[in-house]
């Protein structure tokens, strides 16, 4: 790993932060009217919250953005707040801060996505490897069109169909939420079971869509490996078929898959917005959806900024660690 590579990668990260913060600053100011005040007035007219709260919010907003000050002062102030992770106050949960809302929602997203991404990876990779293996039964090849279909369908549409089939027509699973309102959330058996039951359908829709992606990728890699000379050698040595499958071909084909897995895990925060919306799952995506439908402007900005920064940071760490894990990676291009 060269110093130039590290420097370039860190520079890219700071550019991502700079671009994200600047977009959040500039876009609202492109409109001639003050969008936040307009939205807050709309909100007041709809009868949400009392007038005093709204006034206070507008005051906070004006102080925070200092619209009477020159643009560059506003811009610097915006940066100061972002660096303090001060993302403003939610309109819908006044006086709750946007930061607290995000921190409350993030664990649900991380839990759901981490588990389902890893499960999809494991199942898809094994099935994909078996698909490419010459000794596998021909019947197994029905999985190819199935994988293609699954990987082409947006996972939230799969979620809608799953809700309809497994929560309504044949009601085995709950339709929405992450836990029953009666059960206190904690590390007790009933609570864990309850959470698992609620997470099952959202997880299944992500897993089904993911299996196709991982399966097709693994199959393509395996097909290449099987043609390699060392495989002929392994067969000639009379090694057990099982040994060749696991130790020779799968192990070699795994590397790009693992790279893909780490990328997918880095993107967790941005991964499942619409699944959460469809299942009313109380994670980051659902928070964002409620903010959009309630015109909760600070929450929209806060969540998007948080997601962009967490994805950017995760990718930075990954890119810096990866050359250490795989010495074959050429960092100099």
């Amino acid at each position: 790993m060269t110093l130039a590579y590290v420097a370039r990668r860190i520079a890219v990260f700071f550019l991502v932060v700079f671009l994200a913060v600047s977009i959040n600053f500039i876009v609202p100011r492109l409109r001639s009217t003050n969008p936040v005040e307009a939205r807050m007035n709309e909100f007041a007219q709809q009868g949400g919250g009392n007038a005093a709260n709204i006034k206070q919010l507008i005051a906070i907003y004006n102080e925070k953005f200092g619209l009477d000050k020159p643009l560059w002062v506003q811009y610097l102030n915006y940066w100061r707040d972002v660096l303090r992770f001060d993302l403003g106050t939610s309109i819908a949960f006044y006086p709750g801060s946007v930061r607290d809302e995000i921190l409350r929602a993030a664990p649900w997203t991380i839990g759901l996505l981490a588990v389902s991404t890893i499960l999809a990876f494991v199942i898809g990779t094994i099935l994909g490897a078996l698909l490419a293996w010459p000794n596998t039964s021909r019947l197994f090849s029905v999985f190819v069109p199935v994988f293609m279909t699954l990987s082409a369908i947006p996972y939230y549409l799969l979620g809608l169909v799953l809700i309809y089939l497994l929560a309504l027509v044949w009601p085995v699973f709950p339709t929405a939420g992450a836990y029953s309102t009666g059960t206190p959330v904690g590390l007790t058996w009933p609570s864990v079971l309850d959470i698992g039951k609620h997470a099952f359908l959202p997880a299944l829709s992500i897993i089904l869509a993911g299996i196709g992606f991982w399966g097709l990728g693994m199959r393509a890699m395996m097909v290449n490996i099987i043609g390699e000379d060392f495989m002929v050698m392994a067969h000639a040595k009379g090694l057990l078929s099982r040994t060749i499958f696991f130790r020779y071909s799968m192990r070699n084909a795994l590397l790009p898959q693992v790279t893909g897995l780490t990328l997918a895990l880095a993107g967790i925060m941005s991964g499942a917005i619409l699944v959460e919306v469809v299942f009313a799952y109380p994670g980051i995506g659902f928070l964002l959806f409620r903010a959009i439908s309630g015109n909760d402007y600070f929450v929209i900005q806060g969540v998007t900024l948080f997601v962009i920064l967490s994805v950017g940071l995760a990718l930075l760490i990954l890119d810096l660690l990866y050359p250490l894990l795989d010495p074959r990676i050429q960092t100099q291009r």
Binding site: N24, M148, L157, L160, L168, T175, G227
Partner: protein
Amino acid sequence: MRTVKRVAHAINTNRMLVVGISLIAIVILFGIVGSGFVTRAQADVGAGRPSRPPDFQHLLGTDQQGRDVLANVIFGTPSTLKIGLIAGFVGVAVGSLLGLAAGYWGGAPDSMIRVAIDVFLTIPNLMVLIVIASMLSGVTIEQMGLIIALWAWMWPARTVRAQVLTMRERSYIQVARLNGMGSFSILYRELMPNLMPFLAASLVGTVAAAILASIGLSALGLGPQNEPSLGLTLYWAIFYGALIRQLWWWFLPPIVITVLLFIGLFMTTAGLDRIANPRLRASV
């Protein structure tokens, strides 16, 4: 004659492409032919009684606000495709220009474009699109396409750059250079024709990604609200709890059309990839 033979051969060997294009054609035809059977007015609020199951007057029933579901899907399909095509063409045009410039000239333009690609790829497109769309009060189909195009140029740029890098040092380019051909004619006459299969594959891929983003944005309630689109139909279905109330005629049709469209786009991309990338032909 030779081209006819080659096309026939391609159809025989590249079933994936044929099935993919046919699926897309079916979806497009559904939009075109369908518009002869329903009127645009039926796609608007109050065209029939609310939340009615299918009958002869409304073949796919009506939604909560009395819109005819069939009319919505029929008029929503072309507008969804239009968003995808606008974003796809703009994205591929901008991306391939940047990719050509980066690959051909190298040096400072190349490093700048590469950093820009990396930065834009790191930022999840949906996040920025949400910020932009939530600040605009109502977007049109065309604006939606252009907004999505902002985040649609990176993959084409990267693909084209990589291809140009491998082509730049080939002998036919050297010969052209020695013949005194200018940079632009080399780009236009020597590189472009060879890039065509890659551009076609990345166009289809970009259109697919743009349609995915547009349906996602619309399903979050951030798309064009005055024109029917597949995403908007889904948004209303989620908004009014069509699922819980088991109004299948409302939420299933947009899902079916969207799924057919995505499978078609996926297979077309895979088929074109096989033409552009001969290494894939033997193995799969």
